[in-house]
């Protein structure tokens, strides 16, 4: 064996066990380094996005051309349709949005932005990814078992989800529950790392309100997740027992109640949307401030608002159950709380717009994504008001109006904000610059078709298109040519949007290996991650930074430079 030169690592005071050159296994597969674990989550999440997107492609093709074989898949049977929509939703939320936004960006950014060398529990961090990877294997494997993938919708309501004789996907129904439960455990473990690191391990001089917004957001999101997922874990165990042991937790004939599951699910399900929203808003805020050279308007207000929203998010859940047969007096309560919660979110978006006002705006690719987030999310939020009003919801519930609403919130969260974050932090993560021109082409090729997919869906929902129907030709009033034209428009737009993602894939992979080398701080940003090399070494800094000010000191009057890094002594 060739002698290996001991690579002089930037030695860290408290000893990283003196790694010399690490083997491939230790560096990429068995790493405890938060940056590598962040990449593991991100790449897994991005791969699962391809899986989820493929599923959307197939069922949208079925919607546009019912009964015709879909290229790359074949004819879609009703059971397969159910499995596709179920797993599309499940995968996009739990295996794309959460891993990329929370675990991917959280792992990479938090230690860097608070100025420490790693997370507080690196080995638990590694374990959390391993559990997550196991959950990924289980959900993917469930697509190929006898009966096919679970077909009971991502909400998995019993009795459909509890009885194999109803869902016809008995094996995958159990695998689905196990996969989701494992994913929950992985994120509970990860969350403890994020919260504890952010609370305790800040650089000397970094007070709570000197922490960049994205870190606050990921931490608050982790807390929201932790507080809301418990009852659902309990409920999932109960569902598993109903599926496997013949218990009757959700079976009214045996003293149980299916509505119990709904409550346990949505008690988590509603805070969950804020769990994914908050990191996205954090990314957008940090992108916006850098590319408008302006301080975040109302930083403390935003944090207080977010905490308030988080609390309020626990009081709105039954708006998903308005027509399920809940006590109508509760429906009144939940309508009020739901409409009220739009106020703080709206206020936050206004604060973002106020941040832009008077700024020196540079429309680089990350900024385009951030601006698109604000515009598209506004549409999503506003359409939520219709659904939050129990009267209107009687009509809209379970129609495509709902589908369009939540895609106008979820796509900005899981797609637009993610691309904003990737294009912004790519130089730091990989030490290379992405191609701006390709970035812009990808941007427009994503955002314009996105609207053309989902605006038709609002109209279709209002016209009566019910969700989770595999073929509308069975419904004469819905099988009209003008409605079918809208379905076809949505599908074609999806095809266009998907093809532009190849531009991103090419840009990403090509830049990874052949992009121009990045300097430490290509965007001239204030936050701590930009003060170290691109990419940062193991241990992040040779000399740990101290902090002297907040993260948003841009365009400070009287200074020569329009930014003022946090670690620069006064």
């Amino acid at each position: 064996m060739a002698t290996h030169a001991h690579v002089a690592h930037p030695a860290e005071a408290a000893g990283h066990g003196g790694h010399g050159k690490q083997s491939f296994f230790h560096k990429y597969l068995w790493s405890t380094d938060h940056k590598m674990i962040g990449f593991q989550y991100m790449f897994t999440g991005m791969t699962m996005a391809l899986v989820g997107a493929f599923m959307a492609y197939v069922f949208r093709m079925q919607m546009a051309y019912p009964g015709h074989p879909v290229p790359g898949f074949g004819v879609v049977s009703p059971g397969e349709y159910n499995a596709l929509v179920t797993n599309h939703g499940t995968i996009m939320i739990f295996w794309v949005a959460m891993p990329v936004l929370i675990a991917g960006f959280g792992n990479f950014l938090i230690p860097l932005m608070v100025g420490c060398d790693d997370m507080v529990f690196p080995r638990i961090n590694r374990l959390s990814y391993q559990i997550f990877l196991l959950s990924t294997v289980v959900i993917l494997a469930s697509q190929f078992v006898q009966g096919g993938g679970f077909g009971g919708a991502w909400t998995a309501y019993p009795p459909l989800s509890a009885g194999g004789q109803y869902n016809l996907t008995k094996i995958s129904a159990t695998m689905w529950v196990i996969a989701v439960a494992l994913e929950f455990v992985a994120f509970l473990l990860g969350g403890i790392n994020f919260i504890t690191t952010a609370m305790n391990s800040r650089a000397p001089g970094m007070k709570a309100f000197d922490v960049p917004l994205v870190v606050w957001m990921i931490v608050i999101a982790s807390i929201l997740f932790m507080a809301s997922v418990g009852p659902l874990i309990a409920g999932a165990v109960m569902l598993l027992f109903d599926q496997l042991l013949g218990t009757g937790f959700y079976n009214p004939a045996r003293g149980g109640d299916p509505i119990l599951w709904q409550h346990l699910f949505w008690f988590f399900g509603h805070p969950e949307v804020y769990v994914v929203l908050l990191p996205a808003m954090g990314i957008v805020a940090d992108v916006m401030t850098v590319f408008s050279r302006k301080k975040l308007f109302g930083y403390r207000t935003i944090i207080y608002t977010v905490v308030g929203t988080g609390v309020l998010s626990f009081f709105v859940w039954a708006h998903h159950q308005f027509i399920a047969g809940i006590d109508p007096r509760m429906a009144n309560v939940f309508t009020v709380t739901t409409v009220v919660i739009s106020i703080p979110i709206g206020e936050m978006l206004f604060l973002y717009i106020a941040t832009l006002y008077g700024g020196s705006i540079r429309l680089a690719t990350p900024m385009l994504w951030a601006l698109a987030f604000i515009a598209e999310f506004l549409i999503g939020g506003v359409t939520g008001i219709y659904l939050g009003s129990s009267g209107a919801d009687i009509y809209f519930h379970d129609t495509y109006f709902v589908v369009a609403h939540f895609h106008y919130t979820f796509v900005p969260i899981a797609v637009l904000a993610v691309f904003a974050g990737i294009t912004m932090w790519f130089p730091k993560m990989f030490g290379r610059m992405m191609n701006e021109k390709l970035g812009k082409i990808h941007f427009w090729g994503t955002v314009i078709p996105f609207n053309l997919i989902f605006i038709p869906l609002f109209f279709l929902g209002a016209a009566g298109d019910h969700r989770r129907i595999f073929d509308y030709s069975h419904f004469p009033d819905l099988a009209r040519p003008e409605l079918q034209a809208l379905r076809i428009l949505a599908t074609i737009s999806l095809l266009v949007m998907l093809s532009f993602q190849f531009v991103f894939l090419y840009n990403f992979i090509n830049s990874l290996f052949r992009g121009p080398r990045a300097v430490k701080n290509p965007w001239r940003s204030n936050t701590l991650e930009w003060t170290t090399d691109s990419p940062p070494p193991h241990g992040n800094w040779t000399k740990m930074p101290n902090v002297y000010r907040g993260p948003y000191e841009y365009s400070v009057p009287g200074r020569a430079q329009d930014f003022w890094p946090q670690d620069e002594p006064a």
């Binding site: 408290a14 507080v120 391990s201 418990g230 874990i233 309990a234 027992f241 003293g255």
Partner: protein
């Protein structure tokens, strides 16, 4: 292969990192047990007839197990006291005693459940029994997990290593004890 990072040594809140983390773990566990227990309590309140099923739980076994867990909590906190005094081997012995308490608890439960199941009171036999086995089962899983972690902490403590972890695993163990303190009246006394 210890991964001591600078991050672990800092403490902006004044609470040592490990202890802060354990409290967060407990927060997440409270909601999990809370979910099961809230569901159970509301069903019990709405179904007084479940008392007929509940009448068949064995109060004495439940009480004995409560005594076992309380005593194991005592040995756990005495282990913490020993660890703080720097006496790793004594802390380890007390931790092993705690593990022994957990093992006793689980063994007794094993016999108890065997008895109940062979007499036809299975997890499917009724609403009460479904919750009984589920709640106590989730609790027992946590007892087992705590025992396993405690063994690792005790083995390090024998060599006077990582003594701060004695307190941390103790806090977790006390929580498991507190859950049982509530399960006992809920499952055994309320008839």
């Amino acid at each position: 292969m210890s991964a001591h990072t600078i991050a672990t040594t800092r403490s902006a809140t004044g609470i040592p990192t490990g202890r802060l983390a354990i409290w967060w773990v407990l927060v997440s566990e409270i909601v999990i047990f809370g979910g099961v227990l809230v569901s159970y309590i509301m069903h019990r309140l709405g179904h007084p007839e479940w008392g007929h099923q509940a009448a068949h739980t064995n109060l004495w076994i439940g009480a004995f197990n409560t005594l076992v867990l309380l005593t194991s909590s005592l040995s756990a906190v005495l282990a913490h006291k020993a660890a703080e005094a720097g006496n790793g081997p004594r802390a380890a012995r007390l931790l092993f005693a705690t593990v022994g308490g957990g093992a006793t608890f689980l063994t007794v439960k094993g016999f108890e459940w065997t008895e109940e199941i062979t007499h036809g009171m299975t997890i499917q036999s009724g609403g009460f029994w479904s919750y009984y086995y589920t709640a106590a089962g989730i609790h027992a899983t946590h007892v087992l997990a705590g025992m396993i972690i405690m063994v690792f902490v005790a083995m390090a403590a024998l060599k006077n290593q990582a003594l701060h972890r004695v307190e941390l695993v103790g806090i977790y163990w006390h929580f498991v004890d507190i859950v049982w303190i509530f399960l006992f009246p809920l499952l055994y006394i309320a008839k």
